[in-house]
């Protein structure tokens, strides 16, 4: 898991993407007023920019397109400049909104949001006319620093104003989802997880697989994370608790950091030599770690993680695989165990389970192997289906072309 592997190819023009599969790739549009935080969100979530650095972002002047193509996540993020109205006739709204999967509208909660609500109403109604299949997501953003009461009041107020405006326009059947977010905590990742889950067709299958894994291995909660963005693309059907989500996403950070320092070089990954294993085992001893300060608020709920035990081991038993899978184990003082297994280079599975359940370690590992195979199957299946679909679509286009 070398960090550089995860850098996306950011293609600035959409041309290169057009050639491959852009025609069928869902788009995520980031819209909203100027200075509401669209580019910040995009940078923080997809480019791993530290939240504090977003202060220095220049204002966006043209549509920034970015392809995100990794395993189940397969879409294009378009970051819009806030000051331009894209529904004017100068722009081809069919071109922009025709293929959209989700439209994310960002509202600055710390500002006067009346103007933003008007704009939201206008955007939603205009986009709906072009493409009624868009899902509309509203991020009530920058809520860090607001009190809980104020947050819910703001949400209620925005929701009510929008609902009233839509009802006046006879479009109350448009469904909007609202999220309270901030780039300074995990709320933005959670909101994006939910938004993206709606675009993942395989979600019910993945959820079912996770349910099966959980019930058969005595796992309390399992998340399937996209490693770089810290977005969870699926979880089992029990309610997501903020604390568990936070601690799992913090765990990814820890693992990636350690990976960067100690991990095997990507070029040498095909030969997991014994020496590397030795090094890693030494590390597990030295890193029984007060220095690993995992998490901020989330850890407290789990009874303090001051005596985290960190064990990273390279699984060499799957010798047939060219790359060794990372796995990691963190024991919390309250008796819970965090168990991370790498599914493939882009996905990790993180489970929370009780110490008692973890005694059946072998069972969990076996179940995990089955789970991993299933995931791979699902992935391959959806890949072939995508190809088929694209071929079909190409065929249609061909037909269209010839008919013209």
């Amino acid at each position: 898991m070398e960090y550089d592997d995860y850098r996306y190819q950011t293609d600035n023009g959409s041309e290169s993407g057009q050639e491959t599969t852009t025609g069928h790739k869902p788009r995520i549009l980031l819209m909203g007023l100027q200075r509401s935080g669209k580019s910040s969100i995009q940078r923080v979530v997809f480019n791993k920019m530290p939240p504090n650095d977003t202060l220095y972002l220049e204002s966006t002047t043209k549509i920034q397109k970015e392809d995100v193509t990794r395993s189940f996540i397969d879409f294009q993020v378009w970051d819009f400049p806030g000051q331009i109205n894209f529904f004017e006739t100068a722009y081809d709204s069919q071109e922009i909104f025709g293929e959209v999967g989700a439209l994310i509208f960002v509202i600055d909660a710390q500002d006067d949001y009346r103007e933003a609500v008007n704009r939201l109403h206008y955007t939603v109604t205009s986009a709906y006319r072009v493409n009624p299949n868009i899902t509309f997501e509203v991020l009530i953003h920058k809520v860090d620093g607001l009190s809980d009461d104020y947050k819910i009041d703001t949400q209620r107020d925005i929701q009510q104003r929008t609902a009233d405006a839509l009802a006046d326009a006879q479009m109350e059947h448009i469904q909007l989802s609202y999220y309270l977010t901030s780039i300074y905590d995990h709320s933005i990742y959670e909101a994006f997880s939910k938004i993206i889950q709606k675009l993942i067709r395989e979600l019910p299958t993945l959820e079912n697989l996770l349910n099966v894994l959980c019930s058969n291995s005595g796992i309390d909660k399992a998340y399937l994370f996209d490693t770089l963005t810290k977005i969870y693309i699926a979880t089992d059907s029990s309610p997501v608790d903020m604390q568990s989500y936070e601690i799992c996403s913090d765990m990814i950070d820890v693992i990636i950091d350690i990976e960067c320092i100690y991990g095997a070089q990507n070029s040498a990954s095909n030969g997991t030599t014994p020496s590397i294993n030795d090094v890693e085992e030494d590390r597990s001893a030295t890193l029984s770690s007060p220095s690993l300060s995992v998490g901020n608020g989330g850890v407290n709920g789990f009874g303090g993680a001051d005596s985290l035990q960190e064990q990273l081991m390279s699984d060499t038993s799957v010798a047939s695989e060219p790359e060794a899978e990372a796995s990691s184990l963190i024991k919390l003082t309250n008796g819970d165990v965090l168990y991370l297994r790498e599914v493939n280079r882009l996905l990790v599975l993180i489970c929370i389970l009780r110490q008692e359940s973890f005694e059946k370690h072998g069972l969990i590992d076996y179940n995990f192997q089955c789970f991993k195979e299933a995931i791979t199957d699902v992935f391959e299946f959806s890949n072939t289906r995508n190809k088929l679909n694209s071929q079909l679509a190409d065929g249609n286009e061909l037909v269209n072309n010839t008919s013209e």
Binding site: D148, K151, R156, E207, N211, S237, P239, D241, F302, R354
Partner: protein, 731 residues
């Protein structure tokens, strides 16, 4: 002092931490209860009774796997418990729990049986049980069937089913809430496995659904987006009746009140909210803040205002709240070793619960502890000037909430109130605020003025003991602290001039007698209250005795005139002032005569730290610094050496210059140069000289040149600087 608006007890300095440890937490496994349970509605027991009664043990029954949900049969005799590996019907009596049927016998490990939720039917379906599985299947079990009890498997949901619910009256209609965002209604009389209705909430996953107990065609659903929706089954349009955005974060559970119009909801934002579903209000009637995400709630039958809740994570308790007093639970059951996953009221005093710790339990309200009993109800605190503020609980008897002053959810008074409020706008308090008496008393135990005068004027150096004692005595005398003045005089006699005659000392001690008397009278008239004059009289009595001892011993000491004898007297003196808690005197005395006396280091450190603390409290920073520097103890001296920051204010806008540490030369706020030279308008690096009168200045050289020829300020502000010109350097 207004009463605390949130109804909490004020907690000033004293810690009133919540202690969740039970009075009797003997957790042995028993299958029969120690005391016969009392379910006759007798619940208001005095704390003494609860303490004296034998510790109540809930009925426990261990099952082979973790439990997710439970449901009781309509008659309350049987309970079905469900988990990932368990589906059993238990026979529950007041004495014991026995297994009745194991529904999973002989069944293979099908995913259909790993249950998320379970519900027992009613009336027509009183022998049927519905379970909801994580793979989207709903299974109807028929207990009357012989052999395998599976009646029917419905698998129409694509994702996990979170909750099922039977219609209360007919029992034929079953509602299911699923992760796929749909609510489906099934008619169990119709054997075809197709949903009669499907309601799409147009929202994310449905977490909970429940029929209205009164208007059984209505149901409410809680959604992952935090909204709750009310639906009417008679309405054929696919749209909800009413939608409330209730929670910040997912809503996990809803429960109808028995009045059919009030709905409670609980969510991940750690709140339970109570809504009037008939009104248009967008605000909840009541909000209860709990300690953890709320996973299940249920109103307590027979008690209109009480609601039980359990958490999703991290809180193992089962709490019963009164909506009118949302800051503290009325009862708490703390028996499970993990978070309870399901519970149900069997009667108004009996509650059954299950948890992932594999235990099924039957609790009686008698066995719950009342968190309020563990809280301190009175608070007290004082400020440095001797003002004492206190608040005393005035609630009468043991009632948790005063029924008269705060009408509940459904009380006729509240109904009337609610109606009348719309017309008159008259607000009745919905939240119970425990009656309290608050007050502020001024206790003249400490004389701030004298203290600060002493702190600023006392001579603390021990170089010239005679001079120091004389000055200090004068100061004390002028502040009418005659006893202190006498002490200084005695010290002067003992240490400054040991060859002095004994007669003067006797005279002095005679004076001491008289002055002490005066002191007493002065104190007595000054004292504001009777009690205070009493204490001062008592103190006066002590003074007499002390002075008696002192005078006699001092005269003796002069006769013997030995160092060790002095030491003894000084020790007596110091311990006297320590007892009087006059650290100022102790510290000053010690500093003046420190060459001649020995005091234990621990004691010294005590005095110094408390004196310095006092000085800091009264903002006598300079005096405090003097004392710190004069202190012989290393640990105290280092106080001054850590974390001293000097900030610079802009001389134009008087805002703090934030980047002082990084040697900034311009103000962040007004973007003017800091300390520019009035003549060359460059930032002055190095020596800066300025006029104390008009605050203008500049380079030392430039200023010298200018003022050799001019007398007015170079900026033209009109100030004549030369007379007051003082050249101080500032780096």
């Amino acid at each position: 002092m207004p009463a605390n608006s949130r109804g909490q007890f004020p907690t000033f300095g004293s810690q009133t931490g919540f202690n969740p440890s039970r009075l009797s937490s003997d957790s042995t496994i028993v299958t029969e209860s120690a005391t016969p349970s009392q379910s006759d509605g007798q619940e208001s027991q005095s704390p003494m009774d609860t303490l004296n009664a034998p510790p109540y043990q809930p009925l426990r029954y261990q099952l082979p796997g973790a439990l997710n949900a439970l449901s009781s049969s309509p008659d309350g005799e049987y309970v079905v418990v469900a988990g990932r590996e368990v589906l059993k019907v238990l026979h529950v009596t007041t004495q014991e729990v026995t297994e009745y049927i194991n529904l999973r016998t002989g069944s293979n490990l099908s995913l259909n049986y790993s249950s998320n939720d379970v519900k027992w039917g009613n009336n027509a379906t009183k022998n049927k049980i519905a379970t909801a599985a994580t793979n989207g299947a709903i299974i109807i079990w028929d207990l009357n069937k012989s052999g395998r009890k599976t009646d029917r498997v419905i698998s129409e949901h694509t994702r996990a089913v979170n909750r099922v619910c039977f219609q209360p009256n007919s029992g034929f209609t079953l509602l299911s809430a699923s992760q796929d965002g749909n609510i489906k209604a099934w008619d169990l009389r119709d054997p075809k496995s197709l949903a009669k209705y499907s309601y799409e909430g147009k929202s994310e996953s449905v977490r909970d659904v429940q029929f209205n107990p009164l208007h059984t065609y209505e149901f409410a659903a809680g959604f992952e987006t935090g909204t709750i929706q009310k639906w009417d089954m008679r309405n054929l349009k696919p749209i909800y009746d009413r939608k409330v955005s209730a929670h910040n974060g997912p809503c996990l559970t809803v429960d109808w009140h028995s009045d059919g119009r009030t709905l409670a909801s609980g969510g991940r934002d750690r709140t339970i909210k109570v809504w009037d579903m008939n009104s248009d209000s967008r605000k909840p009637q009541y909000t209860i803040r709990t300690m953890a995400s709320v996973s299940r709630i249920q109103w307590r039958p027979g008690y209109d205002n009480e609601i039980a809740s359990c958490a999703l994570l991290s809180d193992n308790g089962l709490h019963v709240w009164d909506v009118r007093r949302p800051n503290i639970a009325k009862y708490t059951f703390d028996e499970h070793s993990t978070t309870p996953t399901g519970f149900q009221w069997l009667s108004s005093d009996t509650i059954i619960s299950c948890a992932k710790d594999r235990y099924f339990m039957r609790h009686d309200i008698v066995g719950a502890y009342q968190p309020i009993e563990l809280l301190r109800k009175n608070g007290i605190g004082w400020n440095i000037h001797g003002d004492l503020v206190f608040s005393i609980d005035k609630s009468a008897g043991d009632s948790f909430v005063d029924e008269i002053s705060t009408p509940g959810v459904t009380s006729p008074a509240n109904r009337k109130q609610r109606r009348s409020r719309t017309s008159t706008g008259d607000e009745m308090p919905l939240q119970y605020i425990p009656p309290q008496t608050c007050g502020i008393a001024h206790l003249p135990l400490f004389d701030y003025e004298t203290f600060s005068v002493f702190a600023q004027n006392y001579v603390t150096s021990g170089e010239d003991i005679k001079m120091a004692c004389e000055t200090n005595a004068k100061i004390a005398w002028s502040m009418q602290r005659f006893r202190a003045a006498q002490t200084w005089k005695i010290i002067q006699l003992l240490f400054a001039d040991m060859d002095d005659e004994a007669s003067s000392s006797v005279n002095a001690s005679d004076n001491g007698y008289v002055k002490a008397l005066e002191d007493n009278t002065v104190n007595g008239t000054d004292a504001a209250s009777e009690t205070d004059s009493e204490t001062s009289l008592r103190q006066g009595g002590n003074d007499y005795k002390d002075h008696d001892d002192l005078s006699s011993s001092s005269s003796e000491s002069n006769e013997i005139s030995s160092m060790s004898q002095n030491q003894e007297i000084v020790n007596d003196l110091l311990s006297y002032y320590t007892e009087q808690s006059d650290v100022q005197m102790c510290v000053t005395l010690f500093l003046v005569i420190q060459q001649h006396v020995h005091v234990g280091l621990e004691q010294l450190e005590d005095w110094f730290t408390s004196y310095i603390d006092l000085l800091h409290r009264f903002k006598l920073w300079t005096s405090a610094t003097d004392i710190i520097n004069a202190c012989p103890i290393e640990a105290v001296r280092t106080i001054n050496m850590n974390a001293t920051t000097i900030n610079i204010a802009c001389n134009n806008c008087f805002k703090l210059v934030l980047s002082t540490a990084r040697a900034s030369w311009a103000c962040d706020k007004c973007h003017k140069l800091l300390n520019p030279c009035s003549l060359c308008h460059q930032t002055v690096r190095g020596l800066y000289v300025w006029c104390q009168g008009c605050n203008h200045g500049g380079h030392l050289e430039h200023m010298r040149d200018w003022f050799s020829n001019n007398s007015q300020c170079p900026t033209g502000c009109g100030h004549t600087c030369t007379l007051d010109m003082s050249t101080r350097s500032h780096s």
